[in-house]
């Protein structure tokens, strides 16, 4: 049964936005908490200096650097959120596959981190493009990523690489030493596959899944 993009947005859009929003806001809160404690530390040092303890410039500089690091981190998170928010602007566009993988992973990084899964993303030597909606590509990549990592043991390493296969088709490959779940039927991503004329191929050992794009 074919589903229109609009039907799919109505059905899966809010849940995906909600899940990613929760993951991102949690990360931003962590950045704010670190900045808050380090700003407090600076305040403590200044208070001690006012009472006559000489200010340790090196120590003070370290604290400033920690705050700057968290500002850069929060900025990256908000940029991802902004890109995600605009992902529905164009129903059809040429998308850089590796950029989309980076964004999909960045949005759900907290969820993957909580599962203690390490992801190694190897980008293609030349840029590979996929045509379609960025929102649905992110949703498709995330659905696969979430399903795959759901059953992996803590500490597992998942390799993701974008390649052009022997038929010159753009392919996103997910590989792990451990087998993925045998039940690989993804209702939502199954429908999204149609939008990209794509297919998901799982090998016999269940430790490699290839997302092969048709357009």
């Amino acid at each position: 049964m074919k589903h229109t993009a609009q039907e799919m947005i109505t059905q899966y859009g809010p849940a995906y936005f909600g899940r990613m929003g929760a993951s991102i806001s949690h990360d931003i809160k962590n950045c704010l908490a670190i900045m808050n404690e380090n700003a407090g530390l600076m305040s403590d040092h200044l208070m001690m200096a006012q009472k006559g303890t000489p200010l340790d410039i090196e120590r003070f500089s370290e604290i400033v650097q920690r705050i700057e690091k968290q500002i850069a981190r929060a900025d990256g998170i908000v940029k991802s959120l902004n890109n995600f928010s605009h992902s529905m602007d164009n129903p059809e566009q040429q998308i850089d596959l590796d950029e989309a993988v980076g964004l999909a992973f960045g949005l759900g990084a907290r969820i993957i981190a909580n599962r203690n899964i390490n992801i190694n993303h190897t980008q293609a030597a030349d840029k590979l493009y996929v045509n379609g909606s960025l929102f649905f590509l992110l949703f498709l990549i995330w659905s696969i990523l979430e399903k795959i990592t759901e059953n992996l043991a803590s500490g597992a390493l998942l390799n993701i690489s974008s390649i052009k296969d022997e038929n010159k088709q753009v392919c996103l490959s997910f590989q792990c030493e451990q087998p993925f779940a045998s039940d690989f039927g993804l209702e939502a991503s199954g429908r999204t596959l149609d939008l990209f004329q794509a297919k998901l191929v799982l090998d016999d050992q269940h430790n490699r899944a290839d997302l092969i794009f048709g357009n």
Binding site: S25, H26, K29, N30, I34, E37, N38, S154
Partner: protein, 143 residues
């Protein structure tokens, strides 16, 4: 009253480092652990009054850690810290015996007050436990 012995368990090490330093300046004895597993080991090996515990962590989350902590040391007081506290999580944490739940970024004055209250509560529980033990010994030995 003696200094509060506090353990902070959070995977954000730059957070625990800064918070620990500020709490130490305020007279508390603070240890840190960057994972639930490490934190549980720390609790086994050392004595703490209060554990400040992050709700979302890799491998074992705050709720699971809280269950284990309360099973191992029921008198230990736990204050949960979270990026975003849902009402459901808050209720679940309280039912499991958490003393409080604070949202990040937390105000240190508020956290310090809660730690002091938690330490006092732990002392009462420890004294009560000791009284019960003495009573039990006296009854069983017939003194």
């Amino acid at each position: 009253m003696s200094d509060e012995k506090v353990l902070i368990i959070d995977d954000e090490q730059e957070f625990t480092q800064a918070l620990a330093e500020r709490m130490t300046t305020r007279g508390m004895t603070v240890s840190t652990s960057s994972s639930a597993i490490e934190g549980l080991k720390n609790v086994e090996e050392h004595s703490f009054d209060v554990v400040v515990l992050d709700l979302q962590m890799p491998e074992m989350d705050g709720i699971e850690t809280l269950k284990v902590l309360k099973k191992k040391k029921p008198e230990l007081q736990v204050i949960l810290l979270t990026g975003h506290a849902t009402v459901e999580k808050g209720i679940e944490a309280m039912k499991l015996g958490a003393m409080d739940l604070l949202e990040k970024p937390a105000d240190l004055t508020t956290l310090t007050e809660k730690i002091k209250k938690a330490q006092a509560k732990k002392m009462i529980l420890v004294e009560k436990k000791a009284e019960e033990r003495i009573k039990d010994i006296m009854e069983t030995r017939g003194w």
